[in-house]
Symmetry: C2
Amino acid sequence: MSGNYLAGPQGLLWSINARAVLDVIDREGPLGRPEITRATGLSKTTVAQALRELVARGVVEEAGADTTRRGPAATLYRIAPRCALALGVDIGHLRIRAVLVDAAGETLAQAETRAPRRRVADTAAAVTALAAECAERAGTGPGDIGQAVVGVPAVVARDGRTVRRAYGLPQGGRGLAEVIERDLSVPLLLENDVNLAAVAEQRFGACAGVADFVLLGVGVGLGAGIVLGGRLHRGFAGGAGEVGFLPHPATELGTEVLGARRIAEQARQAGIEGSPSPQEIFESARGGDERALAVVDATARRIAHVAASIALVIEPELFVLGGAFGASADLLLGRIRRHLARDAAPLPIRIIASGVSGDAVLRGAAWLARHRARERAFAAVMGGRPHDMTTGGPYDTDLTGSGKGDIT
Amino acid sequence: MSGNYLAGPQGLLWSINARAVLDVIDREGPLGRPEITRATGLSKTTVAQALRELVARGVVEEAGADTTRRGPAATLYRIAPRCALALGVDIGHLRIRAVLVDAAGETLAQAETRAPRRRVADTAAAVTALAAECAERAGTGPGDIGQAVVGVPAVVARDGRTVRRAYGLPQGGRGLAEVIERDLSVPLLLENDVNLAAVAEQRFGACAGVADFVLLGVGVGLGAGIVLGGRLHRGFAGGAGEVGFLPHPATELGTEVLGARRIAEQARQAGIEGSPSPQEIFESARGGDERALAVVDATARRIAHVAASIALVIEPELFVLGGAFGASADLLLGRIRRHLARDAAPLPIRIIASGVSGDAVLRGAAWLARHRARERAFAAVMGGRPHDMTTGGPYDTDLTGSGKGDIT
DNA sequence: CCTTGAGTAGGAAACTTTCCGACCTACTCG
DNA sequence: CGAGTAGGTCGGAAAGTTTCCTACTCAAGG
């Protein structure tokens, strides 16, 4: 029933302990040997041995000396930044952004361009061009990138390649992954943009220690990035979080509850003329325009409705308002909370504003790419030994796997 | 970020390997040494040593000989059935059932009684009496029970003790866990009944290999048992799956979509007189009664509506129809599927009938109790060595823990 | 019917890997 | 100059593996 045996020869111990050393360094930045010894509980000798090996294999390097204490200076160790380069890409409706980061998370280069409208091949070409540009600026070749993660406004299957319901991609994004990977020859993963925003929220934003939360991303449509037990929940075919189609009393079945289009419609109904953009409507509302405020309130109401529905299904600890409208959290949050309180939801619902600055999708993509690139590099190092721990265990990074956990 | 270091001395290897041996025996029934050797990849010597220790510690025992092959008979090993006794209890609206199982899952004794209506103390007393009765019939004392799991028709917090919104328990079930545990002095866990039905479905029913599924339990109310990644998803405060309150066009906010009460109401509206029970209505429908069929269809429609909403949030692989109405799957399933098809849900939704025979809640409770009792027994055996793997890793059985997985 | 050989189970001894504790040296700040 | 710290080395302990050996059973052949 339980899955992985994880039995092995003594060499397994080396894997385990080296991995522990690696993790401590990874988590707590440059560290001296005595601290690593304390943190891992291993003996000085073992830590020294492990570090020697890890340095020899290129995933750890010395990083100066710690002279704060008296006595001889302790040499510090850190993850070698260049052991894993990662590319994050955000394919939005208007523009495509890319960022190249190293294993430490430092930004090495950024680039952006307008999003092509016609052909998938153009989109793919734009991505590879951005990757090449970033790589050149960082002084490496595109082939040195260990992992690329591309955020797309679409439902992505768990294989990270197949794309469905792509509203904002030419030709529905068919074959996008294949074309990019052929030209770039870098391990590639597509991922839903809202999911990546949720990752960013978890890593850089307001949900650092929260195991279960939902990011509500409002933009052209409404989507939810769902994190359960600290992991993204993608659903059987990647369709989890497509909450834009949740039934709403005032909406026909099969149409979206919320999104740029619906807001425009509501603006028309409210008597606003000139079909302004959502951003403009929110601007007017901030200025005190009654009709714009009515639209804002209707929007808040629908968000509250969706949040309540989600809460009844999975009861997350927290909702976060992100996406294009996340910037309007000042207008929306209070109203959403009022609607939630008024409708007397059976559960208390906490909702806050996004804590991520900048392009959340891009940052999430970069984080995920870095994580995978690094995991790959670490696994390669561990793989030199007979057994390793890279699958099934707590270090499992298989995003596409069946996820057949066994424990209830 | 990553949590558990899992570094350790050589003794750790013993834990790992012994655990691997234990798992193989656990999963594949009585096994000879050569097969264990093959399955774990360990050497003959190590397996022999581990088995010697495990037998000495009482969690494994010899189970005859395998004479199928030629040569000397291989002694078979199995988990010692008596190393962990577990009690499953189902507190229903009408009756309380209990079953005592051993570590192998064999039923040792069963008992049941009427559910008290007035005081929680009576309910608790009934449970302890059933436990004592089972223990006596099995020839042990109640104190030998390693774990008890009690299914209740209520929202249970993740600590397995605090009860909220208990429709079917006296005094809202307050203090139930404390009173039972005081009288019984056995580790106790309360659990939502629908969740336990989902566990049963996963272990004995139609969802054996399915990582993500939702059990729809229709009874007095409507609840969902949600299994994601093979694990029960309980929600932040145990309130996940309270889908009975999902908004429905034809229902006021804050009232339940479905349940015995609503069916009665619909029966009234359909012109059925004499306020028959749901069971009776379904019986009439099977007989061809038009008005009863209308009620059935309305029920199916609402179930379809709820399933569609859930699917948009978490997109499970499969829905299973269980609970009191699971028996009426023959009437409901086709109609539910028709409604789903008609409303053109954005996602394909698979829904099937429960595959569990007997009392699913009771069986789920027994399974979970057995799992935890056994895990506890195993952990105790492993604990004799300096390090063990019982927390954080793939063997984590902490149902109440924070679940702060790190990998996205 | 007996003999013999091949395949299997179980065990013991020698070797290898790995980790730990203890001891030692060198360095630096007070 | 001394106490406290960093880093290295050596021997011992623990665990697993390989190799060799014995004993047992089935099946084929004389």
